[in-house]
Amino acid sequence: MIESKKIGIILRHAPYGNSFAQEALDATLAVGLFGQQLSLIFLGDGIFQLLKHQQASAINQKTFSKQISAFELYDIERIFVCAQSLAHRDISTDSLCIDVTCLAPADIKKIMREQDTLLSF
């Protein structure tokens, strides 16, 4: 068993335009499976991954919101969203597919500082 660390995963890309966000999600689940203490931080366009009512099969992709709804099966519970990123895009937390903790940029920075390692996607 490998050592358990606090790992923060920063997700900054919108889904679907390329495979960046999808592969970030794959990496998140893999790192979670290896017993690491994960915190997910959705910033900027990354919050589009969290929107409800995605129907990606229409563009031959896997639907993000469905995969993200499975986070609780992986015991991924520390999920943070930047309040400013939401405000800039006029998105409220009601439009998101899972429960998140919404934080001001200064508090997001604090969460980042608490991590042993940050992975940025």
Binding site: I7, R12, E23, A30, V31, Q36, S120
Partner: protein, 132 residues
């Protein structure tokens, strides 16, 4: 200090050159490099059949030389690699493909190697994270 690198950009990106230069700099300053994990389009680093122009820097050759000098892991994510046509003999046989192209000095392995690098290194530095 013990470092690992996560490279998500292809060899055509400046970020990939910066990653190599960073690796060289840290090794020359007596730090150690545990693993370089190529993910996303970084998987293209695994191709042994890429040919660069005669007057251009050969990144693949440079990584190989650096690895020979200092010894560290060069790992292409197997899922990311296979999707992009980066494949070794074992996987070519498994998926019934006629060709294989993985560079000899690079391994094809799972995302567990990234989790392990994150857990075992004092610093994990991402290159190419903002592309795309």
């Amino acid at each position: 200090m013990n470092f690992s690198l996560l490279i998500t950009s292809p060899p055509s990106s400046q970020a990939s050159y910066s990653a190599y230069q960073f690796a060289r700099a840290l090794l020359s300053q007596k730090h150690s490099l545990y693993r370089v994990f190529f993910y996303h389009d970084g998987a293209y680093h695994g191709s042994s059949i890429q040919c660069v122009g005669q007057d251009e820097f050969d990144l693949s050759e440079a990584w190989e030389a650096l690895q020979k000098e200092y010894t560290f892991d060069l790992v292409v994510c197997i899922a990311a690699g296979l999707k992009r046509g980066i494949i070794n003999t074992t996987e070519a046989a498994r998926y019934d493909k006629q060709q294989h192209n993985l560079s000899e000095h690079i391994e094809l392995s799972g995302l567990g190697q990234l989790a392990d690098a994150a857990a075992c290194s004092e610093r994990l530095i991402t290159f190419g994270g903002s592309c795309g």
